[in-house]
C-alpha cells in the first residue's frame, strides 16, 4: 500500500524535496546543538523551556484532536466520516511523531533517554507522558493502517481492530490530560497551577486538531479527485466552533479568577501576557491578536452562510489554528516562567538554530502527513474509479 507514495506528479516530488531540505537544515542545526549544547537556544536559567516544549504541547493537542472524527464514526456510526476517519488518524500519527521529536531535541542528554525505562518513576508525570504518547502512536498506526487496508480491499475492517479503535478514544483524552498535568501540578507556577488546565487543553485540542484537518481536507478536495464530502467537513467545522467557544470560555474563567480575586500571583502572568508587566510585554501584541483572531474564527463558524462558504471556512479554520497556536504554542509555556520565582522578569527570544530545528520538526510532520495522505488519497481515488 505504501508504494502509492512513490508515484506522484512533479509538484508532489517538488514538495517532498522542499520538505527534505528544511529537515536537512534542521538536522544540521541539531548536530550543532548536540555538539555545543542547548546554550545555542534562547532558553536560560529563568526560561528553562522554550519553543521545543511549547510546540510539543501544542501538537499533543493536534494529535488528540483526531478523536473528534473517531468518536462520531465509531460511537455514533456517523457514516459521513467513514471516508475521512483515516485522515484524522494519520494526522494524529504525524503530530505524535512531532511531539516525540520535540522532546528529543529538548533534552540535554538525549543519549540517556532510555533512563526513563531503565528507572521507571510512577510519581513523575513525564513517565506517563512517555507511555501515553508512544501508546497513542501505536494505536493510530494499527487503526489507521488496517482500516485503510480493508477499504482498499473493499472488505469491512477486521474485527480485531475494533477494540484498538475503542481504546484509542479514551487514550486520546489521556495524552492531553497527562500533558496538562505536566504543568498543572507544579507548586509555585501560579499560571499553570489551575484545575481547568486539562479541560482547557482538551477544548483547544478539539478546536485545533479538526481545524487543521479542515484546512488539509479543503486542500485535498481542490487538488485531487477524492472528495471527502462537504457534509463531513461542515460537521467538522461545527465541532471546531463548539470546541473553540469552550476554549475561550475556559480562558475567560482564568481571567475571572485572577482579576476578581486580585491575588497578585494569579494576575502577574496574565498581566505580562496581555497588558505588559513592569515595562516588559513582548508577547502582548501576539496574545491580544490571538484573542481577536480566535473570536473572529468563532464568528465565521457561527454564522451558517459564512461557514458554508468554502473560502470563509478555510479562513475560519486557519484563524482557530493560529489563535490556539499563539495561546498554547507560545504564551502558555513561556508565560508560566514569567515572572520567575523571585518575581523578576527575564524575557525569551528563540535563536535562529532553535527555530531551524523546530521548523525541521514541522517539516517532518508535513512529510509524514504528505506521504500518508498520498497513500490514503490514492486508495480513495481507486475506490471512486
Amino acid at each position: 500500500m505504501i508504494e502509492k507514495a512513490l508515484k506522484g506528479s512533479s509538484v508532489y516530488w517538488g514538495w517532498i524535496i522542499f520538505l527534505l531540505c528544511i529537515i536537512g537544515a534542521g538536522f544540521m542545526a541539531y548536530l550543532y546543538q548536540l555538539k555545543v549544547g542547548l546554550g545555542i537556544t534562547g532558553m536560560s536559567r529563568d526560561i528553562s523551556w522554550g519553543v521545543y516544549i511549547a510546540q510539543f504541547t501544542y501538537f499533543v493537542g493536534v494529535a488528540a484532536g483526531g478523536v473528534m472524527v473517531v468518536i462520531p464514526k465509531y460511537l455514533h456510526h456517523y457514516s459521513k466520516y467513514a471516508k475521512i476517519v483515516v485522515f484524522g488518524e494519520f494526522l494524529a500519527i504525524a503530530a505524535v511523531v512531532m511531539c516525540l521529536l520535540f522532546i528529543i531535541v529538548d533534552i540535554g542528554q538525549p543519549m540517556r533517554m532510555l533512563n526513563v525505562l531503565l528507572h521507571p518513576t510512577p510519581h513523575s508525570m513525564l513517565f506517563y507522558d512517555m507511555i501515553v504518547l508512544n501508546g497513542y502512536l501505536l494505536l493510530n498506526i494499527i487503526c489507521g493502517y488496517n482500516t485503510l487496508l480493508a477499504d482498499k480491499k473493499g472488505v469491512p475492517c477486521p474485527g480485531w481492530v475494533k477494540p484498538f479503535i475503542y481504546i484509542s478514544i479514551p487514550w486520546a483524552i489521556s495524552i492531553h490530560t497527562v500533558t496538562a498535568f505536566l504543568y498543572a501540578g507544579l507548586p509555585g507556577r501560579h499560571f499553570w497551577l489551575t484545575a481547568i488546565m486539562a479541560p482547557r487543553f482538551l477544548a483547544s485540542a478539539f478546536a485545533a486538531g479538526p481545524a487543521l484537518l479542515i484546512m488539509i481536507l479543503l486542500f485535498v478536495r481542490r487538488v485531487t479527485k477524492f472528495d471527502p464530502g462537504m457534509d463531513a467537513i461542515q460537521t467538522l467545522a461545527k465541532t471546531v466552533c463548539y470546541a473553540m467557544i469552550t476554549n475561550l470560555f475556559f480562558m475567560g474563567c482564568e481571567f475571572f479568577t485572577a482579576y476578581y480575586s486580585q491575588i497578585p500571583g494569579h494576575m502577574h502572568t496574565l498581566d505580562y501576557l496581555f497588558r505588559g508587566l513592569h515595562g516588559y510585554g513582548e508577547l502582548v501584541p501576539f496574545m491580544r491578536a490571538a484573542i481577536v483572531i480566535g473570536l473572529f474564527g468563532v464568528f465565521l463558524l457561527l454564522v451558517p452562510p459564512i461557514r458554508r462558504n468554502t473560502k470563509w471556512l478555510a479562513v475560519a479554520a486557519a484563524s482557530v489554528f493560529v489563535a490556539t497556536w499563539i495561546d498554547k504554542g507560545v504564551g502558555l509555556v513561556i508565560g508560566g516562567f514569567i515572572p520567575n520565582p523571585f518575581e523578576t522578569i527575564t524575557e525569551y527570544h528563540p535563536t535562529l538554530p532553535e527555530i531551524t530545528i523546530a521548523t525541521a520538526i514541522w517539516g517532518v510532520g508535513a512529510l509524514i502527513v504528505t506521504v500518508l495522505y498520498k497513500v490514503a488519497i490514492s486508495v480513495r481515488e481507486q475506490q471512486a474509479a
Binding site: 549544547g37 523551556w49 540535554g108 526513563v116 528507572h119 518513576t121 508525570m125 513517565f127
Partner: protein, 272 residues
C-alpha cells in the same frame, strides 16, 4: 555506554517480569521507604553526633541574615563555588548558581511589605532548600534527583537526562542547567588564574545541578564549606534531634522559611 546498555537489558527483562515498575511502583505506594531501607552507614557519623540506627537525621541550614554583610556573602559564595568547581559564566543566561545573594523582596516575594524598611533591600543568601517534600524529586522521570534519608535532596549527574522538569517544578529557582560545557569555561578561568578543587569533579553539558549540602564533605565528617568559612552566619545541624545546635538556635531566634504555603517544608531557615 556499553555498561548502560547491559544494565538496561537486565532491567528491561526484570520490569517485564514484575509488570511495569518494580521498585517504581513500590515507591509510589510508600514514597521514601526504599531509600530509607538502603544501607546507610558511614557518612557523617561525627557530624551528627554518633547517632545510632533508628534515630532520624534531617540536615538543616540556618542563615543568620542579621550577621550577613557584602564581604561575608562574597566569601561564602566564592568558597562554595570553588569547592564544587562551579564555573563563573558571568551572564544570567548560562549562569550556574549553588548559593547566591538576593534582596528580601525577591526571596520572600509573597510576604513583601512595603513599609518594612528593616527587611526591604536586606541581602539574603539563597540556595537549595533541601525540602522535606521536594517537588523536583516528585517530577524527575529518572530519579536523578532524589531525597536521601537524611533529608538531603541529591542530584545524580550520571543519570540526569536534562529534561529540566525539576527546574520548572522548583518554586525557589534553586536549580541551574549546564546549557554549555562547563569545562570549556573553567579552562578559560584556569588560564586566568582560577584554581580547581582537584578533589571534586566538574559537571558535563546538559545536566542540572544545585547545592548538595556538601554531602562529599559530610561523608568525611566535615561541615559544609559555607559553614566552615562563616561559622557566625551559617549553622548546620540535625533538625530531628531536639538537642542539636540548630534546634537550640531555632528556639531562641525568629526564623523564616521561603514559601511555606506551598507545603514543600524547606530545610533552610533565615534567622532575623
Amino acid at each position: 555506554m556499553s555498561m548502560d546498555r547491559r544494565k538496561f537489558l537486565k532491567a528491561a527483562g526484570l520490569t517485564t517480569l514484575v509488570g511495569l515498575g518494580g521498585k517504581g511502583v513500590f515507591e509510589l505506594l510508600r514514597p521514601g521507604t526504599v531509600e530509607a531501607e538502603m544501607n546507610h552507614e558511614g557518612h557523617g557519623k561525627e557530624a551528627h553526633g554518633e547517632k545510632d540506627a533508628g534515630s532520624k537525621i534531617r540536615w538543616a541550614m540556618l542563615i543568620d541574615v542579621m550577621a550577613l554583610n557584602k564581604e561575608k556573602i562574597e566569601k561564602i559564595v566564592h568558597t562554595c563555588h570553588h569547592i564544587h568547581n562551579v564555573p563563573n559564566w558571568g551572564d544570567p543566561k548560562n549562569e550556574i548558581k549553588w548559593i547566591w545573594e538576593d534582596e528580601y523582596e525577591h526571596v520572600f516575594p509573597d510576604s513583601y511589605n512595603e513599609y518594612n524598611d528593616i527587611l526591604n533591600g536586606m541581602p539574603f543568601l539563597l540556595m537549595c532548600n533541601h525540602c522535606d517534600n521536594p517537588p523536583c524529586v516528585r517530577v524527575c522521570p529518572v530519579q536523578a534527583t532524589f531525597r536521601r534519608p537524611d533529608g538531603i535532596v541529591a542530584q545524580d549527574y550520571h543519570r540526569c537526562i536534562g529534561c529540566r522538569f525539576c527546574m520548572a517544578a522548583c518554586p525557589y529557582g534553586s536549580r541551574s542547567f549546564n546549557w554549555l560545557d562547563p569545562r570549556v569555561h573553567l579552562e578559560q578561568e584556569i588560564a586566568q588564574g582560577r584554581k580547581l578543587n582537584k578533589r571534586f569533579p566538574t559537571r558535563m553539558r546538559g545536566v542540572v545541578e544545585k547545592c548538595n549540602f556538601c554531602v562529599e564533605r559530610l561523608a568525611e565528617g566535615k561541615q559544609p564549606g559555607c559553614v566552615e568559612v562563616a561559622p557566625d552566619v551559617m549553622f548546620f545541624g540535625n533538625l530531628a534531634d531536639p538537642n542539636s545546635n540548630v534546634r537550640k538556635i531555632l528556639k531562641e531566634r525568629i526564623s523564616l522559611r521561603r514559601k511555606l504555603e506551598l507545603g514543600t517544608k524547606p530545610s533552610v531557615f533565615y534567622l532575623i
